[in-house]
């Protein structure tokens, strides 16, 4: 028994089954990411403060170009099959998968940097000021610490409201541990910890590490979903997108490694499979085209 139109298109629809199937699947994917993007909008509109500049624009731009390049190569690989050039197909497909791996590599580098970067919230403004001065100097300490957050939250017009209450300081922990929290430090029976505050805004000179008493800390969190809704939605959408990249790359790699067999058996079906895989790949790129501006630029 053979399923009709598995390879040849049905005359009245002009589609073979898998091509219709992937378009339907992509429609559901649009709704999935649509739901997540809508959540992003709702959370951001409802938030009191929304951070900016938490991720590096040059790195994001680089990754955008990597993905766009992979969209070109995946089309070239399909076109090569249609032209009967198996060798070219393999070359372009390998390039596509290399781009995918490059993208994921850069992304995991970005993730790792976030997992070891911390914000500490002190118990109250008076305690916080003590540490601001220890970090950035007696005279300009408070101003420098506040400047970091005025820039992060774009508070240029309303900074007076924020300044009085500021208790937050960003930096790194001694030994760069992953995912530490005030609770994990407390259960490790630590009374103090070494904290290297971030460089003042616009500079790269990190201040010397300061010693922070755990009893002065209200909350300590790495830049992970727990940190704030900003990081929660950032990690959820980009991780889901990353999984799509990984899944797509695995499928494309499977096409690459079984290409010789399929080429002998049924070259038209191989081309169809690559076309369908390519459609999915374009969709994954398209999601990133939306993600890049909302995460990195806006």
């Amino acid at each position: 028994m053979e399923i009709p139109y598995a390879v040849k298109p049905r005359p009245d629809t002009g589609l073979y089954n898998a091509k219709l199937g992937i378009w339907l699947f992509l429609a559901s994917e649009v709704m999935l990411f649509g739901g997540l993007f809508s959540s992003y909008i709702l959370l951001r509109v409802g938030a009191d403060l929304w951070p900016h500049g938490m991720v590096s624009i040059p790195v994001g731009t680089f990754n955008t170009f990597v993905l766009i390049a992979s969209s070109v190569t995946v089309v070239m690989s399909w076109a090569s099959l249609k032209l009967g050039r198996l060798g070219d197909f393999k070359k372009y497909m390998a390039l596509t998968i290399a781009c995918a791996l490059g993208f994921l590599g850069v992304k995991s580098f970005e993730y790792h940097a976030k997992f070891t970067h911390y914000d500490v919230w002190f118990k109250d403004a008076a305690t916080a000021e003590k540490y601001f001065k220890a970090a950035y100097g007696e005279e300009k300490g408070v101003e420098a610490a506040r400047k970091l957050f005025v820039e992060r939250f774009h508070l240029h017009n309303t900074k007076a409201v924020y300044e009085a209450n500021q208790v937050q300081l960003p930096g790194h922990l001694e030994g760069n541990p992953l995912f530490a929290t005030h609770r994990s430090l407390a259960s490790a029976k630590k009374e103090t910890f070494q904290f290297t505050p971030d460089a003042p805004f616009g500079t790269h000179d990190h201040p010397k590490p300061i010693e922070v008493k755990l009893s002065d800390v209200e909350r300590l969190s790495a830049y992970v979903p727990k940190h704030s809704t900003y990081f929660a939605i950032y990690f959820t959408i980009t991780a889901l997108h990353g999984l799509h990249v990984l899944g797509g790359a695995i499928v494309l790699a499977y096409f690459l490694f079984t290409a010789n067999t399929w080429w002998k058996k049924n070259p038209e079906q191989l081309a169809n499979r690559v076309e369908v895989g390519g459609l999915f790949w374009h969709f994954v790129d398209l999601v990133w085209i939306f993600l890049f501006p909302i995460i990195y630029l806006l």
Partner: protein
């Protein structure tokens, strides 16, 4: 009544496939749409019974708060531990059973039975296809469903038990319950949603690509139309719930705050999270699926009923085109009515008005469908067999369910009725004596095609009358309880709010004894309903071996293609080339030699 079809019932030995695929490939990892349909059907019926048993325990607790549940108290205590101490249902266990009753009935019983089981078995047959467009995807779809079912089932036995926050799983409640039931629920849901998505893609592709030559859109049986629209609803409405599930999972497991607001206080303490999230966001994402889901439950049921009514009235469906356009309209409008579940959230009068309007609009095509089905009965020579009885009962029962929904769709009356037993009565009338009756009808109707034997008519009629009476005795009193204002969520059956409670002296809105005592009556009725299902269970199993054998491949003398196959249909379905010559319901066409003309029959010689 004429019976001119010849029997081509196959001796399985002659027509067995050329290679024997072995037991595992034939029954467990099968890619045949009919086997997968039966797998879905069997699993879903098991969950239907399980969900019913859960609610029987709850009904006992409401009728006799604090009294150990008879028969199963020892079992519950040994399986579930402290939450069922002494066989008495604790409030936590009541919440768990309530949440899981809803989840299981909707996602593991009705949808798989209505959409996946009947859809899989019948749709490819009715359009003249050899199988689904993607047989292996179909298999994976069932496996995801089974996996989701296992995760949900296992969650009862983990420490703390299953999810407790209702089938709607509203945050923050769902997130802050300190047990892991909700995590299991979310993982189970992600699997079930994946299963539905794969199924939906497969159904749509099959209907578009694999229709037999001559099977034009307007020659498709109405059942196929309902399944087609249902598949689109699943395809587009489920992903936002998947997104919501992922977000709640991140909240629950990684401690994020998508649905947790700033300053959330739990048990008198500030909850240690970042805050900044929105509880309303969950409700919007949930009901964006949740309301279209209602139509996923009802549309296939309407399809089943239409097939059975056309066949058993021996006349064409009245207003086939109106039915088709109405079902399409329902499909579209179902996406813009979701927030009528959220009138009480304070989302604003303008938004409420919008959703109230769309809710009234969607009742128009629904009423058209029901009216067409009623009109189809007019002047028919009705055969009152068991499937037809269930199909006929569906019409007024769904009518009651639908009409009592209108006061819930208006936001002024919903303010009073919201979250009361009235809501329970309303949607159970739609789904229980509505959809489930249609599905029973479908089981009785297609059973001969699946097995080659009829189900027993006697047992079937006992099942029917017992269920019809039981259902009405259970759900009708709930309308009154709800109108009196009884909340749907109290494990003591409303005793806290009773006049007899000393603390409520002089409270005018306290519940009278009559309203509270209805609980006992309803519980007795529910027991009757449970008893009425026993003949059905016996019937399904016994008829496989003892049932009356079908006289032909087309025992009901039906016109659609599902009856123009051998019985049971072999792998690949049809033994001859199928070409469709006519519409789906050519019954009693004047001048034709028989009172039914199958879709694939060439133009017959007219009898002068």
């Amino acid at each position: 009544m004429q019976s001119t079809t010849t029997t081509t019932t196959l001796d399985t030995h002659d027509h067995a496939p050329h290679h024997d695929p072995g037991f595992l490939r034939s029954y467990v990892f099968s890619t045949d749409h009919k086997v997968i349909g039966i797998q879905y059907g069997f699993t879903a019926l098991m969950f239907l019974l399980f969900g019913f048993l859960l609610v029987m325990c709850m009904r006992w607790q409401i009728a006799k708060p604090g009294v150990p549940i008879p028969l199963v108290s020892g079992l519950l205590e040994s399986l579930l531990g402290d939450v069922a101490k002494g066989g008495v249902m604790s409030p936590d266990l009541y919440n768990s059973f309530g949440a899981m009753h809803g989840t299981i009935m909707v996602f593991l019983a009705i949808v798989p039975l209505a959409f996946a089981a009947f859809g899989n078995f019948v749709v490819p047959l009715q359009i003249g296809a050899v199988d689904m467009a993607f047989p292996r995807v179909n298999m994976v779809s069932y496996q995801c469903f089974a996996g989701g079912g296992v995760v949900m089932f296992v969650s009862f036995f983990i420490p703390g038990g299953a999810a407790q926050a209702g089938w709607t799983s509203y945050s923050p409640l769902a997130t802050i319950v300190p047990t892991h039931g909700q995590t299991f629920w979310l993982i189970g849901m992600v699997l079930l949603i994946t299963s539905s998505l794969l199924g939906a893609v497969n159904f749509i592709a099959t209907v578009i690509q694999l229709r037999a030559p001559g099977m034009t859109w307007m020659r498709m049986p109405f059942f196929v139309w309902t399944q087609f629209v249902t598949a689109f609803i699943l395809l587009l409405a489920f992903p936002p719930l998947e997104a919501a599930g992922i977000l709640q999972l991140v909240d629950k497991v990684l401690g994020a705050s998508f649905f947790l607001p700033t300053g959330l206080v739990v048990s008198g303490k500030l909850y240690d999270v970042s805050g900044g999230g929105s509880p309303l966001l969950w409700q919007h994402l949930f009901w964006f699926l949740g309301h279209p889901e209602v139509y996923v439950l009802i549309l296939p049921a309407m399809g089943v009923v239409s097939e059975i009514i056309a066949c058993n009235t021996r006349k064409p469906l009245w207003g086939y085109k109106s039915l088709v356009y109405s079902v399409l309209a329902v499909g579209f409008v179902s996406f813009i009515v979701w927030a009528h579940h959220m009138y009480l959230t304070g989302m604003g009068t303008k938004i409420s008005t919008f959703f109230q309007t769309t809710t009234m609009i969607i009742s128009i095509p629904s009423v058209i469908i029901l009216t067409c089905l009623f009109m189809s009965l007019w002047g028919g020579s009705i055969r009152f067999n068991t499937p037809m009885l269930f199909a006929l009962a569906f019409l007024p029962m769904f009518g009651i369910g639908g009409l009592t929904g209108l006061p819930l769709g208006f936001n002024f009356s919903d303010l009073h009725l919201h979250d009361s037993y009235y809501v329970i009565a309303h949607f159970h009338y739609v789904v229980a004596p509505g959809t489930i009756f249609a599905l029973f009808a479908g089981v009785y109707f297609w059973y001969p095609k699946m097995t080659g034997r009829y189900m027993s008519e006697t047992l079937g009629k006992i099942h029917f009358w017992g269920s019809l009476i039981g259902m009405n005795l259970v759900f009708m009193p709930m309308f009154f309880q709800g109108l009196y204002g009884m909340s749907r969520r109290m494990s003591d059956g409303g005793a806290t709010y009773a006049l007899s409670n000393a603390a409520n002296e002089g409270v005018v809105t306290a519940l009278t004894g009559t309203v509270i005592k209805m609980n006992v009556f309803i519980t007795h009725a529910a027991f009757l309903l449970l008893l009425a299902q026993i003949p059905f269970i016996i019937n399904v199993f016994m008829s496989m071996f003892n049932g009356k054998k079908v006289e032909s491949d087309n025992p009901w003398q039906a016109t659609t293609l599902d009856w123009q196959t051998p019985t049971p249909p072999p792998h690949g379905n049809f033994t001859k080339e199928i070409v469709v010559h006519r519409g789906p319901y050519e019954y009693s066409v004047p001048g034709h030699p028989t009172d039914f003309t199958p879709q694939n029959a060439p133009e017959p010689k007219l009898v002068k």
